[in-house]
Subunit: 208 residues, 2 copies
Amino acid sequence: MAMYQKPTSHVINALTGQMGGFTGRYEKRLGDLAGIYADEVAFQQVLKTSKDRVVYCVHDTRPQQDQGDLIFGTTWMKPGKIGDEFYMTRGHIHARSNRPETYYGESGSGVMLLENPEGETQILEISERVLVYVPPMWIHRSVNTGPDPLVMSFCYPCDSGQDYEIIARSGGMAKRIVADGNSWKAIDNAAYRPRSAADVARVLATAN
Amino acid sequence: MAMYQKPTSHVINALTGQMGGFTGRYEKRLGDLAGIYADEVAFQQVLKTSKDRVVYCVHDTRPQQDQGDLIFGTTWMKPGKIGDEFYMTRGHIHARSNRPETYYGESGSGVMLLENPEGETQILEISERVLVYVPPMWIHRSVNTGPDPLVMSFCYPCDSGQDYEIIARSGGMAKRIVADGNSWKAIDNAAYRPRSAADVARVLATAN
């Protein structure tokens, strides 16, 4: 008899991001997120008292590493800001850059900040029962712009991989998401260095 | 500049299964579902008055047909029975049999009836915020066992394809889901013909 993976079911808690039957889990604390916020003085100030504050937590299930399978899970992100810049994930492009991802709002409110290798930005709001589709070739980072935790479930091909360095290499993403009264706005990131044609070609070359 | 697909967002209505920004939609009416229920007399009786009754409706978004991309969407299924057998989808295995799928409960209650090519059955209940993972190589059919519409969202690799005939070729799935008081139970399908070793090998051979 062939070996078959067992079908599984996973209860998702929309408020806590807990997912039953997960196989992996990681947290990112403030102390892990040096360099991603514009206001370094504010960051260092918060770090003094809150280095271990969990900013976001991911549960996932990785059923199999073969091509064609799927990884799925949840992200929980604390509400808050460093200076006027909202808490966000570190962000990534898939190591195989043409792999997509779906994010589905479970609770809270935020935005998906997307950037293609040539520097074009797209920003999509996400909240309960809004599905955001991240197409192949887009760098993506989620941002909690609301007063409550932002919880999303996600799904992506298991052979995607993550390139977390692409954002650091360009001095951040082209836009930053900051407070604007009770809402949010996107402003230019002064430290951003657009990718060269050679940089873009290297990213596109990982597609397969 | 390279051509990039545009990121999109899609609001899902948990009660109606409507999804914003869909690119495809199909309905299955009672008249399309001849042969899937055990009680042919009851089926013909209902058909006389309700041939055009929509049993289920699928919305999906197929962003791109390349390998590595994802298809996502929603299924809405009416509550009801033919004889004592609950309304269900026609069911399929992926044409590339090692492609998986996630189903996520939006509202209502039902079961995912799963069967591997060698005839082993697994049954998982699904309701709001329960994610059912259909691993590679499993035939799957959803069944509405509740009093309300069953609505689920789903995601699967875009190169999966569907083989809808695998179930008909074996005289149905090995188990049927029927009413048991206010609940459900699985009973043997008397018409079921197990797949031969050659049949199994043909299904496994479509994996890639």
